[in-house]
């Protein structure tokens, strides 16, 4: 009933969701092609602390790097971290949530007690201590953020599966002799799609902000160029004192735009999804 392309079509027909999609597509294009279109190498140096000029549209930083090139290059890295975290946590969270919700019993108990503890634990201090001890690479950051993101996802999926389980079409599938895994794969997963998409988007943005935050705190791979490290060096090299707004604005505004895009996209999806469950 709700095939993959059907969902995409439905999302596109909602104004808010379409706006969000367009924001993501633009950033994805910058992220993927940024590596080929930056005007200079992100590591090349020029005159330091230059305000924007025609040669350097976003100016230069404390070591004379071209800020536009750094931004174009860094977008890819930031999106890579965000997308990886979203993918891993959605995969684990959906799997655990579906198994827990559908089968209940001992499986559910073990998973959910573990999830409960991870949810009670405040995230930020845990992030800091893990990042402080583990080797500072982007992959470590991805690992830590995924570890802390999937529990919430599994909770959301689980409670949705619990209500789906009571719906007539699942009962019918059970009575007609369908196997548990087949029901999960064919019937339940299809109906979870809107919820999965919306959470994937929030996870993506959350991970981008969290990575930027960790980098800003001096954690993670500080040699990697991304939105977070750009802001870290802006702070630690006193961009404020030099009033170098051209260096501070691009990564922050990018984070804000992608955040707004995700929120509006989320509202759009809720509109579509809410209408559907109301009519069902």
């Amino acid at each position: 009933m709700f095939s993959e392309s059907g969902i995409l079509h439905e999302i596109w027909s909602n104004g808010k969701a379409r706006f969000g999609m367009i924001v993501f597509i633009i950033f994805a294009i910058i992220g993927i092609f940024g590596h080929f279109i930056y005007p200079y190498s992100p590591k090349a140096t020029f005159v330091i602390w230059q305000p924007p000029t025609f040669a350097h549209v976003f100016g230069t930083d404390y070591e004379g790097h071209d800020v536009l090139s750094q931004f174009l290059y860094g977008t890819g890295v930031s999106l890579y971290v965000g997308a990886s975290v979203a993918l891993i946590s959605v995969a684990i969270g959906t799997m655990v949530g579906m198994l827990s919700g559908y089968y209940g019993g001992i499986v559910d108990n073990i998973f959910m007690r573990f999830v409960d503890i991870l949810l009670i634990m405040p995230t930020f201090p845990l992030l800091v201590i893990l990042a402080a001890y583990l080797p500072p690479t982007n992959n470590t950051t991805i690992l830590i953020l995924s570890l802390l993101s999937w529990p919430f996802m599994s909770r959301v999926i689980r409670s949705q599966v619990l209500t789906l389980k009571e719906r007539p079409f699942i009962k019918a599938a059970v009575i007609s002799g369908m196997k548990g895994f087949t029901i999960i794969r064919k019937e339940i997963l299809d109906h979870l799609m809107p919820l999965i998409i919306i959470n994937a988007v929030y996870l993506l943005v959350g991970a981008i902000v969290a990575q930027a935050g960790l980098a800003f705190f001096g954690l993670g791979d500080l040699t990697s160029i991304n939105w977070g490290t750009m802001l870290y060096y802006a702070q630690s090299e006193d961009a404020i004192v030099y009033a170098a707004w051209w260096w501070i604005l691009p990564p922050g505004i990018a984070i804000a735009i992608i955040g707004i895009g995700a929120n509006i996209f989320g509202n759009g999806i809720t509109e579509i999804f809410g209408k559907r469950s109301g009519g069902a």
């Binding site: 800091v128 201590i129 402080a132 705190f217 404020i240 501070i248 984070i255």
Partner: protein, 328 residues
């Protein structure tokens, strides 16, 4: 209503989570490859100062090889409030460092959360009552934008605008170095002056989320029968909004604020870093950049336990506030 079973389950979770935090705190320094004493000395001093390795090994309780024995020693020290000695603030202990800086963070957090929740409730109520109007949807969109801004970036922009471009406020710090601490007007006003921008940052980035929650519940309340009844009775809108719908919509906002507590603490830490405001967040940043592991560990444990306890208490408080809530 809080049943006894609920109370027991919740406290069991709080205790279990605290225990997990303690285990993480114990294990992390011990599972990084190599001798942590050597690793830490090398990253700090780039050579091995004679005698220091032994000293640090003792500090970590690594001299006896049995993990269980080490864990026992660790727990005994922990319950005596001994979190070890800071490298960076040497010879101060971790507990002393936390003790001197914690009050500033509490001051910052307490003021910001109070202001932000009051502001959130008031603006949310206004938005909720005008739900659907042009002004409302424009304001809500701006609020969504504000919630999407990273705390630290917003802080940097505020400094740039109001401390560098238009020097109204100090660029950072807690008070002027020349001020004499005490109950004198100059000192207190200096503290307020230095805290103004950090507090403004936290309030501006947190209240929109509270306002949006308030708006949503208010909009739902407006569809309820008792509101229709109040309108039919001819009660003025101001009273309906404040005393009827508003009163009922406040509770979800209270939950939201409670759930956001850990998030706000983290946010305040970032703001402290940007403003060089010497609270716990700034100290944690220093500890991270100087690889002061005992201090990182101590702050991790302190914050984790505080947030767990705060959430637990808030959970109970919620049931007391709303008698209809039955917590089993």
């Amino acid at each position: 209503m809080i049943t006894r079973r609920y109370l027991m389950v919740r406290s069991a979770y709080a205790v279990a989570t605290t225990f997990v935090a303690i285990i993480i705190n114990f294990l992390l320094p011990r599972i990084i490859p190599g001798n942590p004493a050597v690793t830490i000395l090398l990253t700090n001093f780039h050579y091995l100062p004679p005698g220091k390795v032994k000293l640090l090994e003792q500090e970590f309780g690594l001299t006896n090889s049995s993990m269980l024995y080490q864990f026992e020693r660790y727990l005994v020290e922990l319950f005596h409030g001994n979190l070890g000695i800071s490298y960076y603030y040497y010879p101060e202990t971790v507990s002393q460092v936390i003790g001197t800086h914690l009050p500033w963070t509490l001051f910052l957090l307490g003021t910001s959360i109070s202001l932000s929740s009051v502001l959130g409730v008031i603006t949310g109520r206004m938005l909720g009552f005008r739900a659907g109007s042009k002004t409302e949807s424009a304001t809500s969109t701006i609020f969504i934008g504000l919630t999407s801004l990273p705390f630290f970036w917003f802080a940097i922009i505020l400094i740039l605008l109001f401390a560098v471009e238009v020097p109204l406020f100090p660029v950072g710090g807690v008070f002027y170095i020349l001020d004499t601490p005490g109950l004198n007007f100059k000192y207190i006003s200096s503290i307020a002056y230095h805290a103004a921008l950090p507090i403004l940052t936290i309030v501006a980035t947190t209240f929109p989320a509270f306002a949006l929650t308030m708006r949503n519940t208010m909009a739902n309340q407006n569809k309820e029968d008792y509101i229709l009844m109040a309108k039919a009775k001819g009660l003025p809108e101001r009273i309906i909004s404040k005393k009827y719908a508003g009163r009922n919509a406040v509770l979800p906002v209270a939950t939201h604020i409670i759930l956001a507590f850990g998030y706000i603490v983290a946010g305040a830490f970032f703001v402290e870093v940007v403003f060089s405001y010497k609270g716990i967040g700034y100290v944690l940043y220093e500890a991270v950049t100087t690889k002061d592991y005992p201090l990182i560990d101590g702050i991790f444990l302190m914050i984790t336990v505080t947030v767990i306890i705060a959430n637990f208490l808030a959970d109970l408080l919620y049931a007391v506030l709303d008698p209809r809530v039955e917590l089993r």
